[in-house]
């Protein structure tokens, strides 16, 4: 699994308690709003972070939500990259985890990861049994 250096990100939120899900969601919301994302995109990104942070809390116990602006060569902010990173047990069946309606817990629609995938522009996931999971998503900033 790739190594994630927290230093390279503008924002990092440690997820350890249930309340950290809301904290991550709020901090990311404020950040992307400041970056000039539209209200719809701010809502989509915050919702995606809520899902990712809950997955960390539920399945790994602890981990991080990281965020950075994605720059173009001219130095202008063009989007945001968000990483959900944990050193938990990893996802046993990645294909299933990405399928609508699949869940390993009670009280779930099984739409977390597939929902995040639909809300964001890019989505990649890496998971290793016993080593953890890294989800990297990004969204471009659009005028409307």
């Amino acid at each position: 699994m790739r190594d994630i250096n927290i230093e390279n990100y503008d924002l990092s939120v440690k997820i350890k308690e249930e309340n950290d899900i809301v904290i991550a969601r709020q901090m990311v919301k404020n950040m992307v709003r400041k970056m000039g994302f539209t209200l719809s995109d701010v809502t989509k990104i915050s919702t995606a972070v809520s899902e990712l942070a809950r997955n960390i809390y539920r399945y790994a116990g602890e981990g991080y939500i990281l965020l950075r602006g994605k720059q173009e060569k001219d130095g202008k902010n063009v989007g945001v990259e968000i990483v959900a990173y944990d050193r938990g047990p990893g996802i046993e069946d990645l294909d299933s985890a990405l399928r609508d309606g699949y869940t390993t817990t009670r009280n779930s629609f099984g739409l977390g990861l597939p929902g995040v995938r639909r809300l964001m522009d890019s989505f990649s996931i890496e998971s290793e049994r016993g080593s953890g999971t890294i989800v990297i998503v990004s969204k471009k900033r659009r005028a409307f």
Binding site: S40, S46, L111
Partner: protein, 122 residues
């Protein structure tokens, strides 16, 4: 979160804070016990102040509506913001057992049509 006045078998729940997992669970318990203790047959959950409704919150609200239905009560959710509606639809969230309305007035009209609540006292 505060509970509003009772209006002949109808109860309004305005959700005014950021919903976290334990709050939404507490909300569920509160609604169900109120249905029993106050013989409510119509619940209106007003989410016009809510910025994010994710899959877990949706799940609990949908489950609450199904539980309420088993207790003889209908549930209407009103005031979903456009950006929240867009996000929920794109995620593929489909809540069952719940009715939707634009605002409180619309929610009351829907409940009147379904069970005739709100009319008894008038």
């Amino acid at each position: 979160m505060k509970y509003c006045e009772r209006n002949s078998g109808l109860s309004t729940v305005p959700v005014q804070i950021e919903l976290d997992d334990s709050t939404v669970g507490a909300l569920q318990n509160q609604i169900l016990s109120e249905i029993q203790s106050e013989s409510i047959d119509g619940i209106i959950i007003d989410v016009s102040m809510v910025d994010v409704i994710d899959s877990y919150i949706s799940y609990v609200l949908s489950e609450t509506a199904r539980m309420a239905r088993l207790m003889g009560c209908h549930t209407v959710m009103c005031g979903i913001k456009p950006s929240v509606a867009l996000t929920m639809a794109q995620m593929g969230l489909r809540l069952t057992g719940i009715h939707y309305a634009q605002d409180l007035d619309h929610a009351i009209k829907i409940l009147e049509r379904i069970v005739g609540v709100g009319k008894q006292g008038a």
